[in-house]
Every structure is written in C-alpha cells, then in structure tokens.
C-alpha cells in the first residue's frame, strides 16, 4: 500500500469452483479488499474411470475473475485456499496472472505498470483456445494426450472476420467455446503443438489460441 499509484502492480485472479460456490468466492474476496469480480459459467472435465464409463465427463463449474493489486490478490488467494481447501482434490483451482493495467476500480484511479517478470518463478502457464461450439472436447482430448490433466470449457459467442451473418431477422454471432487448460511449463509446448495439429488452428477460421504465464497456482497437481 506504500507504493505510489504509478508503481502499483495488478493481478488477475481466476478461480474455478463447483457451480454455486462462485458467490462464496466473491464474498471471501470482498472481505479481503477485492473490489469486485465477474462470475461466468463453464464446464469442467472430470477424471474418473467410473464416470467415464458412464459417459459423464463434465460438470458445471463457475469461473470467478477478479482483478486486484498484487498484495491484495496474493493475500486473497491465500485466504481462498485456506477457506475452500483447494489443496484437496476436487475442491477447485485458483491461479493468477499479471495484468498490465486495471481501470475501473471503485476508487477511480487508473494506473499502468511495467511488468517485471520472473520474480514468482512461475511453474505453470495457462493455454486459452477459442473454437467453434462443440469442439471444446476435442481440444481437451488433444491437450490430455500431451499431458494436461483436464480443462474448463466456457460457453461464449463471437465472430471473426470470416463469419458474421444474419439469419431471418436475427443478427448471428456463432457460438464458441473458450477452453482453458493449465499445465506445467515443460508440458505447454507439447500441448500447444498437439492442439494446433488436431484442430488445425493455423488454417483460417478454425479458432485461435494463446498462452499466458501464471504467477501463483492453487489446487493443481
């Protein structure tokens, strides 16, 4: 808090929990000084031979996105980890990445900070893949083949330059799926290659993907 505004560093916290727990995450985060957050719905993969046999491979999740100053963010994540027991399997995951600037906080200050990399010694990265609806599963399959443990699929809409149309009187934006896969840095290269080849991302109109560094993680194995 002693930092002057222009040196403030911000973190984006991303917490994935079971459906219905998102509000609880927000409440805890608020108590620790986070000013607000956004909750969206997604589907998480589950790994269990029994459930896979039964063809039940997905479960509804809530993804909570919150931005806060670095100190606040780390403190909050620590608390969330304690309260929601991320260290236990199946209780959810949380991670944070660096944000260049954060505008729209309640105190009205907007500031930017130069990113100083490496101080957290990041071990993990997160891969985001945006594809047409229904292909999310393929992405996760490909990622798993390359060693990822699972992923989260978020329903979304969007259109690139290749697709914007009107059907009847409805303006259409095709349904998309955002797939979020977190993995150790040494696996990332393989995952990216695997998804790229399987989904033919390099050809236009097949989707996009990007990779981000993660500073802190909880609940990953």
């Amino acid at each position: 808090m002693d930092n002057s505004p222009d040196q403030k560093q911000f973190e984006l916290m991303c917490v994935v929990v079971d459906f219905g727990s998102g509000s609880k995450v927000m409440k805890i985060a608020r108590e620790h000084g986070v000013t607000g957050g956004t909750i969206c719905l997604g589907l998480g993969t589950i790994r269990s031979w029994l459930l896979e046999l039964l063809a039940i491979t997905e479960v509804r999740k809530e993804i909570v996105l919150m931005v806060a100053e670095k100190v606040v963010a780390y403190n909050t994540l620590e608390q969330l980890n304690k309260d929601l027991k991320f260290h236990k399997r199946g209780h959810g995951i949380a991670f944070s990445t660096s944000v260049k600037s954060f505008i729209g906080a309640v105190d009205g200050s907007s500031s930017a900070s130069e990113e100083s990399r490496g101080e957290e010694n990041p071990m993990h990265s997160v891969v985001f893949v945006v594809v047409d609806k229904g292909k999310g599963e393929e992405v996760i399959d490909a990622a798993r083949k390359a060693g990822a443990r699972g992923g989260t699929v978020i329903n979304a809409r969007g259109s690139g330059i290749h697709e914007a149309t009107t059907l009847f009187s409805m303006a259409i934006e095709p349904e998309k799926e955002i797939v979020m896969v977190i993995a150790k840095n040494e696996l990332i290269e393989g995952i990216v290659t695997s998804v790229r080849e399987k989904l033919r991302i390099d050809e236009p109109g097949n989707g996009i993907m990007f990779v981000q560094d993660i500073n802190k993680t909880y609940g990953l194995y």
Binding site: I46, A55, I172
Partner: protein
C-alpha cells in the same frame, strides 16, 4: 464420484418432503395398510433412482439433440425448413406422448365415444405441430412473446365461452397433459438452440423460454375446437367406480412395468429418429459424441421408466387413499391445508422442473438461482391444489371462477414483468403439470372427490392440472417483478470499503 453423489443428494432432498408428509399422515390422521406403505416407500426409492438417472440422461442426450436441432434448422436460413421442421417434430413428438393418449382415452370415455380417442390424438398433435412451428418462427423473427400469448389466450377465452364447463376443464388440462417429462426438456433445448445463435445477449434471456407455453396453448385450443365442432356440450356423468387398492406389495410394480416401458419407448422414438436422420444428413458429429448422446438416451429411458413405475405403482394409491380418508374427516379446512402442503412438496420431485430451473441458471449465468424459482413454483402449485380442494368441497365454485381471473391477471402481467420471467413463467405452466402432478396430486384430488357428497370423481378430478398449470404463471411473474424492483445497482458510491 462427487458428481453422482451430489446429484443423488439433490434428488433425495426433492423427494424426501413428500415422503415425510405421507409418513406423518400415516402415523397421525390416515394410517395406511402395511402393503400400501411398503409400496409407497419402494416407490419413493424408485423415484429417487429414476429421477437421478433421468436427469443425467437429459443432460447427455435429450438436451444436446434439441440444441443441435434448433441450431441446424435455423442455420438453413430458409423459412420453409424451420416451419416444416417444427411441424414434423411437433406432430410426432405429440403423437408419441403417453400423457396425450391417457387424456384422449378419458375424453373418449366421458363423451361415450362421440369424440374418439384416435381423432383427439390426431387433432391435438396437429395443433401442437402448428404451434411448435409458430413458436420457432416467433424466435427467428423476434416477435415478442407477450403479443403471441395475448392473441393465443384471447382465442382460448373466445372458444371458452362456447365450451361447456366440463370440457373447459378437460381442454385446460390438455395443456399440461401434452407436455410430458420428455417433451418439455426437448422443446426447451430446441428453443435454446435457436436463441443461442443470436448476437444480442438480451435476446437469449428473452427468447430462450416461451416455446413450451406456445405449444401448450395449441393443445388447449385444439381440444376446445373439437368439443365445439362435435357438439358435445351436454352434462356427462362419470362412473362412481370404487377404487380397489391392491393388497400385494410387489405385484403392482410388475404390472405397471410393461406399459411404462412401452410408453416411454414410443415417446423416445421420434427424438431418436430425428437425431439419427439429422446426424446422417447434417450434424455429422464425431463417433464419440454420438456414443455419448446415445448413452444419454439409454439413461433417459431407464430413468423415466424407474420414475414412472415408482409413481404409478407406489404413489397413486396412496394419493387416492389419503385424499379419501382426509375428506372423510369432519374438519374440511384440513383438506385444503394439506392440499396446499402436498402441492408445495410434490412439485419438487417433478422431472421437468429440474431441467427448467437448470436452464434458467445457465441462461442467466446463475443470476436467477434455482432455489428462488423453485420457491415461487412450489407456492404456486400449493395454492393451485388448495384452491382445487376448496372447489371440490364447496359445490358453488366452478373452475372458470378461478381460471378466468387467473389468466386475465397472468396475461396482464406479461406487459409489466421482465421478459425473461414472462417466458419462464409460461413455460413453467407446462413444466409443473408433469407426471408427478398427473398421478399423485390428481389421485389425491379424486380421493377427496370420492369422499365428498355431491362431488363427481371424474368431473372434479379434471381441472386440477389446469390449476397447477396456471398459478405458476402468476407466482413466477410476481418473482420477476420483485427482481425488477430490486435489481437497481445498490450503493455504487457507498461500496468502496
């Protein structure tokens, strides 16, 4: 494993309240025979198992098919494809619906064959087909739901004037009877499949719901037209049949099984056929997805069979028995009060209610929580059953005394309530009147009617479903108005701690 246990727990808590109420009644006012009690408990177990499996099946099978189909029809960008698709799907789904056949059988019976079973099934199916097509066209051309509903219910009112009170009850019941446990999830998903394409996120909330409502209105209008055109308006007397309670414990389950298996299977055929044809023509899903959907359909089938066998063999007799015994007591207020309670809790175990509330959560990204919708629904159905009991006990009250002001109120509210809630409310009418209501609550009402002098089991039995299909329209729209009143951003300035 968490997922399985979680779902199981959820369903258990939905079925438990009904079970507890019946058990409490058993130990206090209306002791059941031992075989009946055991059958009831076995039925409850079957319902819990069946409902859990069914819900997984809907998630994996029915919903994806409906969603895909809605999207595919729309993406053709040709009006005739959407209309033809709606007509074909609507007709075959409706003709395969077991509830419609039961309703048609009853109509055939009470009109002594003047309106034959076959003709009513055919006419209602055509009505539903037309409405499903209309409902889809409404979504793609952005026609506001409340306008369509106003027109449709104006037609219902106009026809209602010419319909005899008995037939009024039957036709209004038709709205609930034709939208069964399998049809509702499918139609809900179909609507979502179309609206999910839209660019405007508000449209998703506005147009995702309402298709079930339009389809239900189609059933009402067709039955009314039939009764008017065939000139059946005389008073018909139902048989004063004594209900025989089975003495054996497990025989009823065995007897129900073959019929239920056949009914559920027939109801599934059009959905499977449509899926396989479209898979071949247009979807071309990878093998893994197809396998997943087919597995889902197997779950849907198994779950629904278990559920229906449990309800029919375990719950129905108990409903009639409890109703009869309660109404034989001197304190008639008790019947109304318990009717309220029974309505309040049975709706929780209605399969389609789960599907609707989950879809509401998904569409609103969790903003409108399942619990709050369930509360509004429960209250609505409780009030509906209580009012129905009052109607059976007090001879002067006619069904239209409730229905006319009720629908006028519901339609008026569509002009003020948030559009999301209008669609939700009118869909929930078809959703609330599912198999649980059609058996347990109806059986309870018929039991009460048996015990009350001057009440007619058949005539008074009709109309209960109509009430259950109407009151949620009002309670859910009230919920919408409450949401609207409270949704202003509170304390934007004061929130800076």
């Amino acid at each position: 494993m968490n997922v399985l246990i979680g779902k199981f727990k959820e369903v258990l808590f939905a079925v438990l309240p009904t079970t507890v109420i019946v058990l409490v009644l058993h130990f206090t006012l209306t002791p059941l025979d031992a075989p009946m009690l055991v059958r009831f408990l076995v039925g409850a177990v079957l319902i819990v198992l069946g409902l859990s499996v069914f819900l997984f099946g809907v998630d994996l099978g029915i919903s994806p098919i409906g969603h895909l189909m809605g999207g595919t029809l729309t993406k053709s960008n040709k009006l005739w494809v959407v209309v033809a698709g709606g007509l074909i799907l609507g007709f075959f789904i409706s003709i395969a619906e077991p509830d419609l056949h039961i309703l048609a059988g009853q109509v055939d019976f009470v009109t002594s064959g003047v309106i034959s079973k076959l003709s009513i099934v055919a006419v209602v199916s055509v009505g539903i087909a037309v409405m499903l097509a209309l409902g889809l066209v409404r979504i793609v051309y952005n026609i506001p739901l409340y306008k369509i509903l106003t027109v449709l219910y104006a037609i219902v009112f106009a026809l209602g004037v010419f319909t005899s009170p008995e037939f009024l009850a039957i036709s209004l019941d038709a709205s609930g009877a034709t939208t069964g446990a399998m049809t509702v999830p499918f139609i809900l998903a179909l609507a979502l499949g179309v609206t999910a394409l839209k660019k405007d996120p508000k449209a998703l909330e506005k147009d995702s719901f309402g298709l079930v409502a339009i389809v239900s209105a189609g059933a009402i209008i067709s039955v009314m037209l039939m009764s008017i055109l065939s000139g059946v308006d005389r008073d018909f007397a139902g048989p004063a049949s004594e209900v025989a309670y089975a003495a054996s414990i497990f025989a009823p389950f065995g007897q129900k099984l073959p019929t239920v298996v056949e009914e559920v299977f027939v109801a599934l055929i059009p959905i499977i056929a449509a899926f396989l044809i479209l898979q071949y023509v247009s979807f071309r899903l990878p093998g893994r997805s197809v396998r997943k959907i087919l597995t889902g359909l197997v779950y849907t089938f198994t779950g629904l069979v278990l559920f229906l066998v449990g309800v029919n063999a375990g719950f129905m007799d108990v409903g009639t028995f409890v109703g009869y015994r309660l109404a034989s007591l001197d304190n008639k207020a008790l019947v109304v009060g318990l009717g309220f309670l029974i309505g309040l809790v049975t709706i929780l175990a209605e399969p389609a209610v789960y599907v609707l509330t989950t879809q509401i959560e998904n569409v609103t990204s969790g903003y409108v929580r399942r619990k709050i919708v369930l509360l509004a629904l429960s209250l609505g159905v409780g009030i509906a059953v209580a009012l129905s009991m009052l109607r059976i006990i007090v001879p002067g009250i006619q069904l239209w005394h409730y229905v006319l002001p009720g629908y006028v109120l519901a339609i008026t509210m569509t002009y003020f309530a948030p559009k999301l809630f209008v669609g939700m409310a009118f869909d929930s009418g078809g959703v609330a009147s599912g198999p649980m209501t059609a058996t347990f609550v109806l059986a309870f009402a018929q039991g009460v009617a048996q015990a009350i002098e001057g009440a007619n089991v058949v005539v008074d039995g009709f109309g209960v479903i109509a009430m259950v299909a109407m009151t949620p329209l009002i309670t859910l729209q009230i919920l919408g108005l409450i949401f609207k009143a409270k949704s202003g951003k509170e304390g934007v300035a004061a929130d800076g701690q």
